[in-house]
């Protein structure tokens, strides 16, 4: 069975600070990995995804994530956050050969102070 763990439940940063949100997964085979963002009052939106190839994935709004297979990790990064990045961030894993249903982490609440 696949599972996801997000270690940081609440993160508070000032504008221009660097961001790294942790995501570790558990699955015995090949995985597809996702980061979703949910802005206040809005629906889940895909930030970026990893299916194969370059383990450093660049997404929208300056976000990137690195897939480190040996660490079962897919951490989300942004070098300089903005107030508008305040949102909930969800990591999700989809194990290939399974039922094509992603499993989500519990999310990380990011608050960026202007």
């Amino acid at each position: 069975a696949q599972s996801v763990s997000q270690h940081n439940h609440h993160v508070i940063l000032s504008e221009a600070a660097s961001l790294e949100l942790g995501c570790n997964y558990s699955y015995g085979g090949t995985v597809n990995l996702f980061w979703y963002v949910q802005y206040p009052g809005q629906h889940l939106q895909l930030l970026l995804k990893y299916f194969s190839g370059d383990p450093l994935v660049k997404g929208i709004k300056g976000f990137e994530a690195e897939f480190i297979k040996s660490k079962f990790s897919f951490n989300l990064r942004k070098p300089s956050v903005q107030w508008s990045d305040t949102a909930e961030y969800f990591c999700a894993v989809l194990g290939e050969g399974g039922s094509y249903i992603p499993t989500f982490g519990r999310g990380t609440s990011l608050i960026v102070h202007p």
Binding site: V4, N32, Y36, Q42, H43, L44, Q45, L46, F90, A92, L94, S99, Y100, I101, P102, F104, G105, R106, G107
Partner: protein, 113 residues
């Protein structure tokens, strides 16, 4: 491209009442999912449809929750009777059978008082 449509956006009901949510997936997406997202948690899958058939409903509380997708397109999720702990956002998502194109709707926020 139109996204996944859900209605209503918000619903407030008293416990023991019934409620229904509607979802219209992206055109051509054979797979449809209903998730429950309780405040402070990630989305939890309730049920997955492939066309009009149920693929996985193992986490659906079948004593009170039901869902259908009769014509293999839009879907309804019903709760009867509602409990306080059902307060959550109910998300619909759709995708191609491979999981490609996975897209969420805006969700319905349910408050049970």
């Amino acid at each position: 491209e139109a996204g996944v449509a859900q209605s209503p956006r918000y619903k407030i009901i008293e416990k023991r009442q019934s409620v229904a949510f509607w979802c219209n997936p992206i055109s051509g997406h054979a797979t449809l999912y209903w998730y429950q997202q309780i405040l402070g948690q990630g989305p939890k899958l309730l049920i997955q449809f492939q066309n009009n058939g149920v693929v996985d409903d193992s986490q659906l509380p079948k004593d009170r929750f039901s869902a259908e997708r009769l014509k293999g397109v839009d879907s309804t999720l019903k709760i009867q009777p509602a409990k306080l702990e059902d307060s959550a956002v109910y998300l619909c998502a759709s995708s191609l059978p491979s999981g490609y194109g996975y897209t969420f709707g805006s969700g319905t926020r349910l408050t049970v008082v």
